[in-house]
């Protein structure tokens, strides 16, 4: 059975473009053009994921999200031309699961949809995975015993060094590591030109786990201080 996705935007061309994008990925796409319509469609259909614009006539996107949240636990991706940090924080605190700024990168949007759906449908309750061996952070899960990193439930192929780095970060979520410390703890050597070496590996890990490696959400640089794994 095809997963059902509701796309809401007052710009019909954008709705159509997203629909075309997602249909290629073999999803069933429902279209709505304002907030009220979105609420109706969400009530009538077994929607499993929703992509919604903020500024719309009749009922704005964030209000619609709040209303839907009262009934459903489906993943909601907010799609907005407002790209400010404050807008993102507002959207996420209103009940959205994700916030994508316009103009979006279609491939990234598709990846996010896929990720959210997988976590919502196939994996079920995320808390079921929480155990002594598993560390869960957003879409990432690290099994400390097997030393395997899962993204959206699928194992990520990492080299030995990359695994060590991920191991370090996943066990210290949110902590900032200077490059020298990472180097010392991963390579077991005194740091020399640590910045470059560490950065190369981090870039490679990002390509494997981030939606958009150029705007990382998990493995971040704290400029002038070090590196950290963002705690989700």
């Amino acid at each position: 059975m095809k997963e059902c996705i509701l796309v809401v935007d007052d710009d019909r061309e954008i709705v159509k473009a997203i629909a075309l994008l997602l249909e290629k990925e073999d999803y069933l796409v429902l279209k709505a053009y304002d907030g009220m319509q979105a609420l109706e469609m969400a009530a009538e259909n077994p929607v499993q994921l929703m992509i919604i614009d903020v500024m719309m006539p009749k009922l704005d996107g964030l209000s619609a999200v709040m209303k839907i949240r009262e009934q459903k636990n489906i993943p909601i991706i907010v799609l907005s031309a407002k790209s400010e940090e404050t807008d993102k924080v507002l959207g996420l605190s209103m009940g959205a699961d994700d916030y994508v700024a316009k103009p979006y990168n279609p491939a990234e949007l598709a990846a996010r949809v896929k990720s959210h759906l997988r976590r919502y449908t196939s994996l079920g309750d995320i808390h079921a995975f929480v155990s002594a061996a598993n560390i869960v952070n957003g879409k990432l899960m690290f099994n400390g015993g097997e030393k395997v990193l899962y993204a959206d439930g699928e194992p990520v192929k990492l080299t030995a060094t990359e695994t060590k780095i991920v191991d370090l970060f996943m066990h210290n979520l949110g902590r900032i590591f200077p490059a020298e410390e990472i180097y010392r703890r991963v390579w077991n050597e005194e740091a020399y030109a640590a910045e470059n070496t560490v950065m190369v590996h981090i870039r490679r890990i990002r390509e494997k786990i981030e939606y958009n490696p150029k705007e990382p959400e998990y493995l971040k640089v704290v400029w002038g201080i070090g590196y950290k794994m963002e705690k989700k």
Binding site: D11, E13, I14, A17, I18, L20, L21, K24, A81, K82, S83, E85, K102, P103, Y104, N105, P106, A107, P178, A179, E195, N196, V198, M199, V200, R203, V221, V222, W223, G224, I225, G226
Partner: protein, 765 residues
């Protein structure tokens, strides 16, 4: 041990040098005093004292002369003297002594009569050809003197002995005098002349036969001082003891008795103590020279001690040093004046008396007095020396003075006051000065005019006049206060405008003279207020406009990008159409980034850019940025050379923003550098500022007139390359939002961007 010895040497060197100088100076002073007071022949004086023979003293000779005159008077004592003659004596005696002034005469007469108890005025007087005396008085003298046997005498008249206390005085054959045991001096007056034998030898007394002031013996027998008619029949023998001793008279009621005929004993005593003093002088001088030598030996260490002392005295107020010096100099001036003219200022005579006592009586006052005198001299020299020493090491010692400090404190305190208050204070000070002048003038005038100042009406008039004069400055002060308030008000308004309080309207009374100025200021303030408000409004509108426009552009752009993406996935498209789609793709991506840049730069220039300031390591940030951009750098035909210190260079800034700044700069450098050239990224720190520098050689010729940080400015005007033209503008805005300084320089084709930050002291843990 070594350093201790060195310290000791310094102390010894200093003390011995100082004591040596002091003692020597004191001795020189004493020498000067001694011979300026006694005058006469230096050599003779010293010889006399060291012979220890009191009979060589001037004082002895004049004393013996006095005795002779007294005995001669006794020899012709008259029982029936007329009373009228008695007062004559006083005046004649005074003339005879040739006193310099009345004062001296008076003092002399007083002291003489007090000390020796002779009542010359009544009993002993000059009678034209010689001294005269009452017969009863002569008896009295004889009674007093006969038991004090330091002087032996025999007085004869016409071969008859009148008075004597030693019958045996006389001559053996061949005119050899007969003297009792213990006596070595004999004076004989035979009615014509005086003969003197000392130690059995006759002494020449008359010289060439004329009496002069310098003649040793004041006795009759000179051509110009002949023997008087009355005493031609008199014969007098006087013998003096070799070593005088004290004879205590039975009559204790008269306190002067002990002194009466003990002048010889006093002389003897005097000469002894003076000899002791001279010996002491020699001894102390030798001692002082030895001390000076010690000081010379340790002179290097002494200098250290002097420096240490100067360091201490340098901390004192100048007045504390100056006042004692002035006191000492005053004292020395007094001494000096004493020697120029001892009657320079009559009222000060009592001071001189004290000084004279130091000089004359020091032989009689014992060791305590000596110590006291020495300590006074030490004090004087110490004070002078300390002052000189201080001057030597502190050229501008006078700057550290109490007066200066008070004035400076007042000045700094008054600077803090508002200008009006200062004006009022100055006015009050001037008024007080005028008041004091008036009052002192008035008082002075009262004192000066006391004699004529009797009329009550006049007094009332003057008091009224003074009152009015005193009121006028008061009126001035009142007026000045009003002016000062207006001035304060004006200054306060200017301050308020400077602080940006443009809303508040200020009032000023219309009669205050500054009213017009305040009105004009209000106009300026209103104009500024309006301009600032309008500017703020337009800035806000600009940001809103940019935000709205960028939002409005983003929506269609989203469609464009989405459909281009869809087109890219179409497989049946012809090859040339695919090419078009690629162009559409790249241009739409560029449009996207440009919109983002415009939005950010507009926020930054309007001051709406949120920054998250924290302490971070600029060196690390640069290394991270370069590492992050490594792929781009490797792809380009440019080499990046870095010179970044390994130690943390801590600044306070927003890491994300600064990353964007350096990313932009490096991207620019990669994009616009001459191919094959090098980009230099350096970071320098001096503990206060951290300076990051990106230098590259431009591919195109740089136009020196372009301000590169201006928005949309680029080296060439074609705008055909990929950038938005906002890179440097964003970099500058972000840097300045983080509190840094951003500078762009173009020297020929060398393009230099310098970013400097204040360095923080705290280290990142």
């Amino acid at each position: 041990m070594d350093t201790k010895w060195k310290k000791n040497k310094a102390v010894i060197g200093f003390i011995s040098w100082f004591l040596g100088i002091s003692i020597l100076a004191f001795n020189v002073w004493m020498l000067f005093m001694e011979f300026s007071c006694y005058g006469g022949n230096f050599k003779k004086q010293v010889e006399t004292v060291f012979q220890e023979d009191y009979q060589n003293m001037e004082e002895f000779r004049s004393s013996i002369s006095d005795y002779l005159n007294l005995f001669l008077a006794m020899s012709v004592a008259d029982k029936n003297l007329p009373d009228g003659n008695r007062n004559q004596g006083e005046a004649t005696w005074a003339e005879e002594k040739e006193m310099e002034s009345e004062w001296d005469q008076y003092v002399y007469a007083e002291e003489y009569s007090e000390d020796y108890g002779y009542d010359y005025k009544d009993s002993y007087y000059w009678q034209g050809d010689g001294w005269r005396m009452d017969a009863a008085e002569a008896e009295e003298y004889h009674k007093d003197m006969k038991n004090e046997r330091n002087i032996l005498y025999r007085i004869e008249k016409e071969g008859k002995v009148l008075f004597t206390n030693e019958e045996s005085l006389g001559f053996m054959a061949d005119s050899v005098p007969v003297l009792p045991e213990g006596y070595n001096f004999l004076l004989y007056f035979n009615g014509e002349e005086v003969k003197i034998w000392k130690d059995g030898r006759e002494i020449e007394i008359y010289g060439d036969g004329y009496y002069r002031e310098k003649s040793a013996w004041y006795v009759p027998g000179y051509y110009n001082f002949p023997v008087g008619e009355a005493i031609k029949d008199s014969e007098v023998f006087i013998a003096a003891a070799k070593v005088p001793i004290i004879y205590i008279n039975n009559d204790f009621d008269r306190y002067y008795h002990v002194y009466t005929n003990d002048r010889l004993y006093d002389m003897q005593n005097n000469i002894r103590s003076r000899k002791m003093a001279y010996e002491e002088w020699i001894f102390t001088s030798v001692f002082a020279l030895a001390l000076l030598f010690t000081g010379l030996v340790f002179r290097r260490e002494r200098k250290a001690a002097e420096f240490a002392i100067a360091e201490f005295t340098g901390k004192l107020w100048y007045e504390v040093k100056l006042l004692p010096v002035l006191a000492v100099l005053g004292f020395l001036l007094l001494l000096f004046l004493r020697f120029i003219n001892d009657l320079w200022w009559m009222e000060w005579n009592y001071v001189y008396e004290y000084i004279d006592r130091f000089i004359y009586y020091r032989y009689y006052r014992g060791p305590l007095m000596q110590v006291f005198l020495y300590s006074i001299v030490f004090m004087c020299i110490l004070i002078l020396w300390l002052f000189m020493n201080d001057r030597r090491y502190h050229k501008s010692a006078w700057k550290k003075s109490l007066t200066g400090m008070v004035i400076r404190t007042c000045q700094t305190a008054s600077i803090k006051l508002p200008i009006g208050k200062r004006m009022v204070r100055q006015n009050i000070a001037i008024c007080f000065f005028i008041w004091i002048m008036c009052i002192t003038g008035f008082l002075f005038w009262i004192v000066a005019e006391e004699g004529i100042f009797m009329d009550e009406m006049e007094l009332v008039c003057y008091v009224l006049l003074e009152g009015i004069t005193l009121c006028i400055p008061f009126l001035f002060i009142k007026n000045a206060k009003k002016m000062a308030r207006a001035m304060d008000n004006l200054v306060g308004q200017i301050q308020a405008i400077h602080d940006g309080e443009l809303e508040e309207e200020r009032e000023m009374p219309e009669d205050s003279g500054l009213w017009e100025a305040v009105e004009n200021l209000n106009d300026i303030r209103n104009g500024m207020d309006k301009a600032v408000k309008e500017q703020i409004k337009s800035e806000r509108m600009k940001v809103e406009l940019v935000a709205n426009v960028s939002h409005d552009i983003k929506t269609p752009l989203t469609s464009i990008i989405s459909y281009v993406e869809l087109l890219k996935k179409e497989e049946e498209l012809p090859e040339h159409v695919k090419e078009y789609v690629d162009i559409l793709d790249s241009k739409s991506q560029r449009l996207k980034s440009m919109i983002q840049d415009v939005f950010e730069v507009s926020k930054a220039v309007s001051g709406n850019l949120p920054v998250l300031m924290e302490d971070l390591d600029l060196a690390k940030l640069l290394r991270q940025t370069i590492a992050d951009m490594e792929e781009q750098i490797e792809k380009s035909a440019i080499t990046v050379k870095t010179e970044i210190p390994g130690n943390p260079v801590i600044i306070h800034a927003d890491g994300e923003r600064m990353y964007r700044v350096f990313q932009n700069l490096i991207q620019n450098a990669l994009k616009y550098s001459l191919e094959g050239s090098r980009v230099y990224i350096t970071l320098q720190e001096n503990g206060k500022t951290a300076v990051a520098c990106v230098k590259n050689i431009s591919k195109e010729e740089l136009n020196p007139d372009i301000d590169f940080t201006e928005r949309f400015a680029r080296g060439d005007k074609s705008r055909s390359d990929g950038g938005s033209g906002l890179g440097l503008s964003i970099a500058q805005s972000f840097t300045e939002a983080c509190g840094g300084e951003f500078r762009v320089e173009a020297m020929a084709d060398l393009f230099v961007v310098t970013i400097s930050f204040v360095q923080q002291l705290s280290a990142i843990s």
